[in-house]
Symmetry: C2
Subunit: 180 residues, 2 copies
């Protein structure tokens, strides 16, 4: 593969990640191409179709988040701190895209397991955080994960915006305010 082509491919992926993180899954091929400063034709040289591009990006995001979760689960004493780290990480990832792809019927074979693993991981952390007494226990770990997803799987989500802050505070049993 020619050097400029490899460079272009990376450029496309990087740009698309940014765009999809900021504006969600409905960014068009045209928009992505334009943002990357290339023609649509170039997108199709590197990816057989839209779905392939989106799946690669979604899988990347999920892998990143899963790794963060594992990492912090292993390193952190507190499960709640690990969850916070996940939220901070996830807020900069195109998770709305990942969600919409894995919701849709059949996806890339890699996507399903990734989502499943991630979900299990987070639910585990949530249950742990409740056991620690950091998170209110009048809702299920599943619901906790659902709420954190609301915070993260939003186009343009930021770890310190009002909604994320309020959700974290609402989940937490401590009085402290997170994120700001």
């Amino acid at each position: 593969m020619r050097a400029d082509a490899r460079r272009n491919r990376a450029l496309i992926v990087d740009t698309a990640v940014d765009l999809l993180t900021a504006r969600g899954p409905e960014a068009s091929m045209e928009e992505i191409a334009q943002a990357a400063g290339v023609g649509v034709g170039t997108l199709y040289r590197h990816f057989p179709d839209r779905r392939a591009l989106l799946e690669e990006i979604a899988a990347g995001a999920l892998r990143t988040l899963l790794e963060t979760a594992r990492d912090h689960a292993a390193r952190s004493v507190s499960r709640w701190d690990a969850l916070l780290a996940c939220v901070r990480c996830g807020a900069g990832l195109p998770l709305a895209l990942a969600k919409s792809l894995s919701d849709g019927a059949e996806a890339h074979p890699e996507l399903g397991p990734l989502v499943r693993d991630l979900d299990a991981m987070l639910e585990d952390l949530a249950a742990g955080a409740q056991r620690e007494g950091a998170v209110r226990d009048d809702i299920t770990p599943r619901e906790v994960v659902g709420l954190l997803s609301v915070a993260m799987c939003r186009p343009g989500a930021r770890a310190d915006d009002a909604l994320t802050t309020v959700i974290l505070d609402g989940l937490s049993t401590r009085a402290a305010s997170f994120g700001r």
Copy 2:
């Protein structure tokens, strides 16, 4: 107007309200017709186009919520209680639709003022609730309204679901849990 036609019109509106409340603004004419058990042609007999149907429904929802807000603002001692009443009311209304319509460029002339009035009303209540000490004051009244909108302007929102509860708790300075 023939009696069956009047009945049908009401059926269409009622069904559409339910559907739009549950699934958001992107329900198609086809879907609405099907849910109401009529053909699309019947929709177009009663409304010149999609926009007209949607605007009528959105305006109705906004009027309902505005009335609730005024009512409780007048009746309640506590501004926070009035806000809670609004959230309970709004959760069963197709507000996601109303939001998307009033976001779009020019809408029904009635929609703009309704949204403005409602916004002002809620912001006022939010500021009052902060003055009472019921709502945290490290965020602006505008942001408070924005967060309540997140709770309400969601397809399928319920006043006692996990997200609404956590947002209300996150906003509140009291330890109590609202809605469940």
